[in-house]
């Protein structure tokens, strides 16, 4: 009963935060409330007993999306609050309420039967090479999704690098710099643990990559890790390696499959599956971390880059 009360409070808070972030007069307040909303979502995932999602949401939904929106805000000028007239507010509200009624009515009529895929996934778990079902689905049963997701990430990064104007130079304070340096080893340790733990318990490439990206973004905003940019050949190689290691692993798996009738694209041989998954996850983690970092911080302007290059050489 008390837990239900907690759930009710959490749900109410989620709805209020979402509404406030949509309706707030100033855009800055909207973004801040959205970050708070992301944190509460992470709590909701934890309450729904899906720790994989809670980990990913805490790093991505609250951390990285917040940083993205703030850098977008910094690029724009301040907004005057826009006042909408009553009909402009009322008619969409009526439409949305009608939609909400329809959606709720439809949801409550869904049949209460489980998806047949659950039993299949459970039965095949012993052949997947890992013991955590979510990781098994992500990197074995539905590895097409994960491969294409890495491609989507790569495309988003390429697109963003093409269109985004050069990132604004920021100033950093010694205090935030030393604190982010102190945090960096802890972030790397935690990310490594998450990646390794993903085989048997909640965790895996996405969570580890998102966590690494969050740490790298903080360091990057403090003018550290100057080599971490798209113009660096090794960084480009690592970013592409997420997809290419996946494809190469799939080719290798095809070659290693002895039974010729059994050759299926992106299917690991059962006895070697654990190794393949770890290999693919390792490169995927690095690629996800670097891609997300570059998506958030962007590429510095050419002048700043030249300056950083000469500074870096002098430092070396």
């Amino acid at each position: 009963m008390s837990l239900l009360l907690f759930d009710a409070t959490l749900c109410l808070l989620l709805l209020v935060l979402a509404l406030a972030s949509i309706l707030s007069r100033q855009l800055v307040h909207g973004v801040i409330l959205y970050i708070a909303f992301g944190l509460m979502m992470a709590l909701a995932w934890a309450r729904l007993a899906t720790p994989d999602l809670a980990l990913a949401e805490a790093a991505i939904g609250a951390g990285l999306t917040g940083a993205l929106c703030f850098s977008a805000l910094a690029r724009q000028q301040l907004h005057l609050p826009v006042v909408l007239s009553w009909p402009q507010r009322l008619w969409p509200a009526v439409f949305v309420l009608l939609m909400l009624g329809g959606v709720l009515a439809a949801l409550l009529q869904l049949p209460p039967t489980a998806s047949p895929l659950v039993d299949v996934a459970q039965a095949e778990l012993i052949n997947s090479g890992v013991s955590h079902p979510v990781t098994a689905v992500l990197l074995n049963f539905r590895s097409w999704d994960t491969l294409l997701e890495l491609v989507v990430l790569l495309l988003a990064l390429l697109g963003a690098l093409q269109v985004a104007p050069a990132a604004k130079a920021t100033t950093s304070w010694p205090l935030s710099l030393s604190w982010s340096r102190l945090l960096a080893p802890m972030v790397i340790l935690l990310a490594g643990y998450l990646l390794w733990a993903g085989a048997s318990q909640p965790g895996g490439a996405f969570q580890a990559g998102a966590l690494l990206a969050a740490g790298a973004v903080v360091l990057r905003l403090n003018h550290q890790l100057n080599w971490l940019r798209w113009s660096n050949f090794w960084i480009r190689l690592l970013i592409v390696s997420g997809v290419s290691a996946f494809v190469l692993a799939a080719l290798l798996a095809m070659l290693l499959t002895t039974d010729n009738t059994d050759v299926i694209w992106l299917r690991w041989p059962p006895q070697l599956a654990g190794g393949f998954i770890l290999l693919v996850e390792l490169f995927a983690t690095l690629a996800i971390a670097l891609t997300l970092t570059l998506l958030v911080v962007g590429e510095p302007a050419a002048a700043e880059q030249a300056q950083q290059n000469s500074g870096g050489e002098a430092h070396d």
Partner: protein
């Protein structure tokens, strides 16, 4: 703290509840301060002071229930939140100061 039957003794139960209540009180006080105080600096003061102390009491209260290993992790979480809270408070205060000097 947990005796052989797996139950908390009455004394530790009372102590733990007391600490949790104190923590809750500080959280509420900090939130009220953030809503009611007039300028950025006093709001920051209310939030960070009350939150670090409130979280500390809540962690101390929860430690009656955990194993040694879990307690160490709880302590680590508290220290991390404490340090990052102070750092971000410092940064926000400096930002507020530069904004104030500008106008």
């Amino acid at each position: 703290m947990i005796d052989s039957t797996g139950q908390l003794s009455t004394l530790s139960m009372v102590l733990s509840s007391l600490l949790l209540m104190v923590g809750l009180f500080f959280f509420i006080a900090g939130s009220i301060g953030m809503l009611r105080f007039p300028d950025s600096f006093s709001r920051l003061h209310a939030v960070t002071k009350a939150d670090s102390l409130g979280l500390g009491s809540i962690v101390a209260g929860l430690m009656f229930y955990g194993e040694l290993w879990q307690n160490l992790l709880l302590l680590l979480i508290w220290l991390l939140v404490l340090a990052s809270g102070s750092v971000s408070c410092q940064l926000l205060a400096r930002f507020a100061k530069t904004q104030q000097d500008k106008t």
